[in-house]
Symmetry: C2
Subunit: 270 residues, 2 copies
């Protein structure tokens, strides 16, 4: 019996940062990645629509016989994790819970900032997860809708990026947080300007590493790790033509993505 792959999805290319950490932690595992590039972004859309899209993608990946599903998109994790866990019989891992756990373990002052898309922030998913782990921790949140288009435009180190970061993060910084959760897979691309804005004393937390650790724990606990010395295979699917995904994805992964296939979820359903 061949070993099953780990399924990972995101609204687009950003989830590759999570894939990267999973491959680093579990190099022998096969992965199947889905980027919903024909409907990106999710962060500005309603929870109902994001959940409908997430269930469609999960159904596509489950048909390819995955053993675990990673929701690498913060917005989809915030809006749709419950629906996915109720619907699927395999384990489903989001990025919110791991990011929240890391923040709680990192903070000394007990004041944590969380930034993300409108959808993620409106859901209060991070604040709820952090409070569940430690009700004493104070959480300050701020939606930063322009960070995704800035990262995609490649304006990561110019005056527009700095002014935008100052406008969004000035209040968060003045609130005295010592930990800031980058609650969107695009935000690590703006890490430098975000770090300069909030100052050296503030630790930046991104969920990718902690999510990879959670995936490894679950697979180990269920005896589902692939016992091999060979490197795993990685397959990529997108819903729009692959060119843009390949270009940005290679920048994200720092190397060759390999083959990327375009599929239409509408056709899959039929």
């Amino acid at each position: 019996m061949p070993w099953k792959a780990i399924g990972i999805f995101d609204s687009g290319v950003g989830g590759l940062t999570v894939l990267k950490e999973i491959v680093k932690a579990l190099p022998q595992e096969d992965t199947i990645y889905f980027g919903d590039t024909a409907r990106v972004p999710y962060g500005t859309k309603s929870p109902e629509t994001v959940t409908r899209y997430s269930l469609e993608i999960a159904s596509f990946l489950v048909k390819r016989d995955i053993k675990l599903l990673v929701v690498a998109c913060n917005t989809a994790s915030a809006c749709s994790l419950d629906a996915l866990q109720e619907t699927l019989s395999i384990p489903v891992v989001g990025v919110i819970e791991p990011g929240a756990r890391r923040a709680v373990s990192v903070t000394r002052s007990g004041r944590v900032g969380v930034i993300g898309t409108e959808g993620t922030i409106r859901s209060s998913a991070y604040a709820k997860a952090i409070k569940r782990m430690n009700p004493e921790v104070e959480v300050v949140t701020k939606a930063c809708p322009l960070f995704v288009p800035l990262a995609e435009e490649g304006w990561t180190d110019n005056e527009v990026a700095r002014l935008t970061a100052e406008t969004y993060l000035g209040g968060v910084r003045d609130h005295g947080v010592d930990t800031l959760v980058l609650g969107c897979t695009h935000y690590p691309i703006l890490k430098r300007v975000i770090g300069e804005t909030v100052g050296d004393a503030v630790k930046l937390v991104d969920s990718a590493e902690e999510t990879a650790r959670t995936v490894a724990e679950i697979l180990r606990g269920r005896d589902l790790l692939r016992p091999s010395a060979e490197l795993g295979n990685h397959h990529y699917f997108v819903s729009d033509v692959p060119a843009g995904f390949i270009r940005v994805g290679n920048r994200f992964l720092g190397g060759s993505l390999g083959d990327v296939y375009q599929i239409s979820l509408d056709t899959e359903k039929g």
Copy 2:
């Protein structure tokens, strides 16, 4: 026999600026508007995907028995007008041709700038239309991907907006254009900062008025104008939950939108 309505679609809320001009020019006409808010934006997606979405929406509107279809989205006009005109038996009007015609009639220097989304600029649709009308006119184009998120964030008059406009438009201004086509329905919202950046000597052209004029001409030519003194009725459909559309739409139209219905194009197809 009841008079048929005019169908209008856009990737989201921006096309309401075109609807507004149509209602002003033809107040007795009924309209049906579709905003594809579950899949917005189109400007970053491939021509193939934009065309697939456009055909789905056209099919939805044609079932509601419209007499003419207005493609109020610049990206969809640039990528999908030919496919729509080939597929449909009613007249299809895009916003590119009217905007180009206006620019050609406005310019004195013979140097015209065109700004729009990546999809619109990559298609060269404006440049081709302008050259077809007057091969002597020189066309300078520039994609401005951050203008749409800036307009949606409501950052229309701050330092970030000014710096972004300067970064995108400095080169266009220095090229000596005397006319600038706002080739995206969101851009009129940034009219002030765009105007300040390129200077008073540059005339800003938006397609909405000219498109309304084209619609009136076609309907008059085919004897399809509704002969009534009553005001028309206006219906709105969107693909995501209506709340955001209603909020921004009321700002765009300066008044009450009326009822907005959510529909799923997937379900329609079944």
